[in-house]
Structures are given as structure tokens and as C-alpha cells.
Amino acid sequence: MNKIIIGENIVKSFGEGDEKRHVLDGVSVEINEGEFVAVMGPSGSGKSTLMFALSGMDDVDGGKVVFDGRDLSAVAENELSDIRRTKMGFVFQQPTMLKNLNIHDNIILPSMRGNRKNAVKISEKAAVLMKRAGIAELEKRDITQVSGGQLQRAGICRALMNSPKIVFGDEPTGALNSKSAQEIMDLFSEINGDGTAVMLVTHDAKIAARTERILFMRDGKIESEMRLPKFDGTDIDSRVKEVTVKMREIGI
């Protein structure tokens, strides 16, 4: 299996002098193409920081990140932007939408950069994705006129517009009620089923239980790891139980 991301001995710290705190303290991690991974851990354990480091949104103080065969620390900033735009997708906890644009324009925005000649194709693709996410009728709405769950689906559509190799989700269901959260997770499973790697940061066992590999972090290190069979839509309760037992075992 090809590795999409190889992180080696990543160090990231914040603050100066006595205040200095290693948020990532020598983390090594590999993610395969098409893999569905969750990162769990208590607040301040470094989950989100790891995600920002692996996606090249934050530079690292030590170690290196290789994405799709390229060492990100050696890639110029503009090229890094291109990689993020064409090979990665992002979904954040809060819907990160531009206020000025309606839902549809927000979704197509990353694809339109330098690509307006293909506007028709891009809009067609957006329509397909929005239909699949169940928000086809919302395309003309302003972002203030729809619910949080709907916005998050729009965010996923945006992440998928350029057919990325991996989609990162930082607590993508954190701000949603449990029904909406389940629907979003169904969508992620579907994406993963199409062969796109997904990496989710979460503290919710029910979310993590739907992935096939869980990394447990504490104090800037990966403390433990567990593997699950690919989720087929059945037996969710026993998977959740398995995860919670593991969490209790390592004291998270």
C-alpha cells in the first residue's frame, strides 16, 4: 500500500523560555492511501496541531513531513498552496465559509482559482456533490440562512471539489447534534469508500469507532494505536465499546 503521508519525528513547540511547551514531541506517523484514520486524545494533547503539521498549514520545528512523495519543508509556499488546493481537502469544526459568498460560490471557490474557463464543469461537479450531500436545494442561500449541519455538509462538498487524495477533518461534528453528526459521518464513510483517505481529529468515541485505525495522543506523543476492521454499517455498538475500553485502558 502506498503511503500518502509520512511524518517523521515531528517537533512543534509554542512559547519562549520557561513558557516553552512542546505540543508535538517527536511524533512519527504514516497514513496509507485510502485509509480512514482517527486521532483521539484529551484537550491540549496535540491532535489539531498534528493535523496542521501534516497538511503543511503550519511549519514544524523539527522532523519532516513527506506528502505524496514530497518533503513539505522543501516546498515553496506557493507550491504548498497548490498542493493543499489540489490534493487535500479540509473540514473544520466551525464552518469556515466566506460571508460574502452564497453556499454554492463558497463550495466552488477553491476550484475556481485560475480556472474560470471551466466554470460550467465546476458547477456541474458541485451540483453532483451537493445532491449527494443532500443540500442541492440550498445552493443560492446565504451562509447565514442555513443550519450548522447543512453548512458542514457544504464544507465537505467544498473539500471534495478537487478530488483530493486525503480529506482532513478537525472535529467536523463537534458543533453538531448527534443525528447531524451521524449523517456527516455517513458522508465521510462514503468518501472513504470511493478511495479517498480521511483523517479525523475527534474526542468522540462514536466517531472514532467508524474508522479503521485510531491514534491516541497524550502530551504531544502518540501513546497508543488501535486497528478496527473496515466499518460496514453494522455492529456500531460493539465497535464503540471496544474503543471506550481501550480509552479507559490507557487513561484518556
Binding site: 469556515t96 466566506l98 460574502n100 454554492h104
Partner: protein, 772 residues
Amino acid sequence: MYYGIIRNDILKSKAITLTTMIFVAAAAMLVSLAAILVVNLTGSIDTLMTQAKTPHFMQMHSGEIDTVRLTAFAEQNGNVDEFQVLEFLNVDGAQIVFDGRSLADNVQDNGFSIQSKKFDYLLDLDGNVINVTDGELYVPICYMKDNTARVGDKAVISGKEFTVAGFLRDSQMNSTLSSSKRFLVSENDYAEIKDLGSTEYLIEFRLRDLSALSAFETAYTSAGLEANGPTITYALFKTLNAISDGLMIAVILLVSALVVSIAFMCIRFTLLAKIEDDYREIGVMKAIGLRVSDIKKVYLAKYAAIAAAGCILGFALSLVFRGALLENIRLYMGESESSSFAAALGIIGVLLVFLAIIAYVSVVLKRFRKISAAEAIRFGTSQEKHIGAKRFCLSRNRLLDTNIFLGVKDVRARKGLYATMLAVLVLSAFIIIVPQNLYNTISSKSFISYMGIGSCDMRIDIQQTDNISEKAAEIAKAMKVDSVISKYAVLTTKVFKTKTEGGSEESIKIELGDHSIFPVAYSQGRAPAAEDEVALSAINANELGKKVGDVMTLVMEGKEKNLMVCGIYSDITNGGKTAKAVFTDNSADIMRCVISAAFSDKALTDGKVLEYGNRFTFAKVTGVDEFVLQTFGPTISAIKKASYAGVAVALIITGLVTLLFMKMLVAKDRYSIAVMKAFGFTNSDIRLQYVTRSVFVLIMGIVLGTLLANTLGQVLAGAVISSFGASSFEFVINPLTAYLLCPMMMISAVLAATMIGTSGTGQIKISENIKE
């Protein structure tokens, strides 16, 4: 508590606070300067006119004079306090030589006088009445200013030698706008040179009751006394003294009004942005029961601090700069006795600026009332709908690059925010274009046609001499055979009597001849073409109460002749009281004659002026360019300076304000920038969006500013120009500078400021702004 909040706030936004303070300081400085200058100017004029005992009424007269009759009139009129007749010896400029340099090219009527005995004194630079001894010459102050003469210079007047002993202030003729200049010599010397020029008389009165001046004027006119020359009253002397510095004060006031409004806009912009940033906190404060007035105080305190600092700085600067601006007033008119009052008025002006700012901030803060606590806490931003931008969809965009589209979209979506920037840019364009157009207009050759002079190349004046009509005919004959002269016109001025509505008779000077050859600009109506038509200068029309279409009655040799008023024009020559007609008349004496000529080749002007000057020594021959230069030269150069200053100031304002706005926008838009970066937009993509915003706003600003300059600006400039005589005019626009160079300069300033202002986008970390 306030101190801590203000300090933290200012430390967090140093650049923005500083820029706002600079604008406040500039506004305060200008207002204070204007106040100081007004007080000093009026004070100095009063001092000068009091020390010199300026006449309340003066009639210039050339020709025979009956002093006995004049004395009798003065004794009979109860309002006359003092009366005198002074002599003014008109000497051709070529006959006045300082250290080898003659005044031949000078357009002023230079002449010699002795010190007056009763009033209308000529003063030295300390304000004392000059006591001149034999061999000494005192020179008008304007020749000190333009370095024509220096103290100690040897002066030769028609062969007689003098030493320049000093300079004099003449409360009547100081201004370059009054066309005569008096040199002072001793009585013995005057007697010696008396035959070298033509004598004019200044018939002067001081009145007991100045308010009854107009009654006195009527009495003088109806008594049929000597009146072959302009009549000038106390108020006009005052105006002439005030006009050039008054214009400067007017410009300063205008600029300060602009700067105050720019300071307001900076405050509005920063305040609106701050309110948006603090939306949640304001909501929380409201929710926990703080009164709106309490919340306002926190914000008001910060601006009070900025405004106070700016005002104090501005006032201090005005004290530093006042010396330079007062120099001219001090030189021409001497010290004012009210300089401490001036500083006090300056402080009052600055206080007004301060209060205006506080009031303005208070008005802007009114929108606190509209903030819903619930909404603020839930959403953290105002949930205003973006109206009008709906149809402008990215998905439908085929024309613009995506970044450019986003820039334009942002401007359309946040109109209120960009309106502030737009207003500043409109003002800047206005400040750049109006003075330039004004300069272009005044310095253009056609401008003199607004001033009562047709646009010709050479002008020959024959006056204060005998046989004027023969002399004029002689010149006209020479011109007729001169192949270089493409056209010429002989205009003869004669004095007639006209009947006023009250039934009394008044004298009026009418210029007779063909007025179609070198037409002047008529503010109403047209030039006289038929025998029974007359055109009046604006001042005459006003005084006689005539409009176009009215009938005016002349009395010629006892018979009445009715003329129809066919046009009204502006005139600054000969005291502004002139008239034009085409009828022929052989009755009255010729007062003066003006021959205008145009050349087929303009390059020959200088040579021809010299040729005619040498050939006809009795006439005063002037190239019109030279005439314009010497009459309006100081004004043109002042306006040129003002237009350069305007460009510099406007570009600085444009640059600073754009920089300020861009810095604030980047700070406000951190989150959106981080989002776009996360989704693969590069720093240069984001900068392109900001450049689009500022250039889009700038283009609108330039278009609006230019439109405004050509409409409102023309009206404003017209007000300035009408203060020296022209009543209606149109801008002469240089399209290259107005429509190409100025916009290019503004675009450069805005681009540079935007690039600097948005350099911060590179430092915005995605992780710090998106992290949950």
C-alpha cells in the same frame, strides 16, 4: 480604568492611532493658522490704514484742475473732515533705472510724490511717517519683494541721480492689483523732475462720518467736479490690501475643511471596524446591564485622548509655521496690534475641531443602540444582509479572474465600509484636479478675456498726453502696413454723463470702437454691434442697476441718447467701471486709447513690442504675456504653488488613508484570509484581491472626483476668481494632466500603499486563525 483600556488599545493599533492623530493635528494646525492669519491680517490692515490715515474717498484726475472750486466744495460739505490734492508725477518706466536696470518692462504706472502734509502718509517699514531729504528716494515695498531695488542702490530718474534710502508702505497702492505705484522724493527734488512726466492729481477726502460715504460720493459727482480718472473709496483700499493674503487664508480654510472631513472619515472607518471586532463584547456588556452611555464612554475616551493629543500638536505646529505665513503680511502691512488675541482665536479654532470630533464620534457610536445583545452573543457579528450583491455570483463569472472577482465582490458587499475610503479618494482627486484646472485657466491666454481684456498679443496704451486721436491714428496707420500684424483694433475711451434712476447725472467711461475683433467674455448677453447698444462691466451694471435689455440714457451735448444694454462682462481694468459701445462721437475729449494687435507669428511678439515701443515713445507698449505675468504673476505663481502643494497633500492623504484602510481590512479579514489560504490560495492571490478592492474603489473615486471637480470645483474656483473681478468662467482643462497624469499618480500611490498595507497577509498563520 479608562486609562488602562485606552493605553492597551492604542498600543495594539499604533499605526492606525498615529495616522488618525496626524490628520487631527493637521486639521487643528490649519484651522488655528487660518484664525491667526485672519486676526493678524485685519489687525495689520487696520494698523496700517490708521497710521497712514488712508483717505476715505479719492478721485484720480488728469488734466486741468480747479483747486479753488474743490476747496469751496470741501468747505461747504459738512461731512468733510480734511481735504487735500496730492500730485502724482507719472514717469515712464524706461526712465526709472536702478543700478542699470530700468523698469521699462514694468506694467505698473510708476510715479513720484512728495510726503503728504495732512493724511495719506507714506510709511517706512517701522510704520513711521517718512521724512525724506534731498537726493533720497523711497521705493514701493513690492520692488523690495521682487528684488528690483536694494537699499543703497543708485537710482537714476530721467537723468537725475538718487540713492535708495529705504522702502515705503503705501496704504493705497501696496497691492500689485492696484495699478499705480508711488515713489517718494523730497519737495526740492520733486520740483526738479516735475517736467519730466505728466502730472495726475489725487483729490483726497477724509470724512467725519464714514458711514455717509455713499451720500458724499453722490454729492461729489453731482457737483460736477474733476473726475477724469478712477474713483476709489476706503472700503476698496481695504479690499485691495486684503485680497492676496485673504485668498491664501481662504485656501487654507478650504484645505482645513477637507482635512477635517478626512480625519472624520478615518475615525468613522476605524470606529466601525472596532465595533465590528468588539461586537460580542459590546453585546455582553449590554447583556449584563451596562448602559449604552457607559459603553460609549470607553470608546469616546480613546478618541478624546487622540483628538486632544492631535489638537495640542496641531496648535503647537501652527505657532511654528505662522511666522512664515505672516511674513508677507508683516512686510506689506506691518505688525498687528492684536497678536495675543490671534493666539486666543487660534485656541478657540482648535477647541472647535476637538469638540467637532467628539460630537462626531458620539454620533457614530449611536449605532450601539441597534446592537442586539442576543444576536451579538450568539453570532458574534452583525447579521446585516448583504443587499445588491446577490446576482453577482462566482458561478456565473466568466469575465474576471477569480481573485479580481472576489475583490470586486467584497467592495459591492461591504459598501458602507468602502464608502469611507471612496469619499477620501474623491476628495483627494478633487484636491489634485481643482487647483490644477484653476492654474491652467488663469495661466491660459484666453483667461484675460474674463478680465475685460480681449486676447491679443500686444497692447498699446496712450493716455495722459495730448492729441490722443492723432497719435492713435499714427500707430494704426503703421499697423495697417505691418505684414506681421494679422488684426488690430483701436478702442477709444471717452467720459460721458448718464442719467441715473434718481434723476441725477453720473459720469461713465465708455470704450468706443469695434469690440468684435478682440472680444471679451460676456457673462450675460453679447458685445455691442449696433449704434444704440452698450455693454456694461459687472460693477457698473450693478451700480447703475441695469440688466441686459434695459435702457440707459446718455447726455451728450445737452441731448439725451438712449442705449440698450446688450451685454455684461467682467472687468478688472480701470477700477472695474467700464462700458463698451460702437457709436461714433466727436463731442467729448478722449481720455485714453488702447490699441490691441495680434501677430501672425506669436514668436515675433517680443521684437514687435520693442519696435513699437521705440517708434512710439509716447505710448506704453506691452506684450500681453508680460502684462498678464506682471498683473497676475504673483497670483498665478501662488496658485501654481497651491496646485503642487495640492498634489503632494492629496497623494500623501491617498497613500496614508489607503495604507490605513488596507492594514485595518487585513486585520479584520484575518479569518477569511486564513480560510482561503487553507484552501490553497497563495499570498499573491490574496494580495491581488486587495489590490482589486483598492483599485476598484480608486477608479470610482477618480471618476467621481473628476466629475465633482469639473462641476462643484468650477463653482468654487469661480468664487475665488470672482473675488478679483471675473464673474463667470469655464475651466481650461489640460487633458494630459487632468485625465492621465493625475490618475496615474493616484493609482501609483494607491498601489504602493496597498502593497505595503497588505504585506501582513503573508504573516497570517492559518492554524492560529482557524484553530477551534
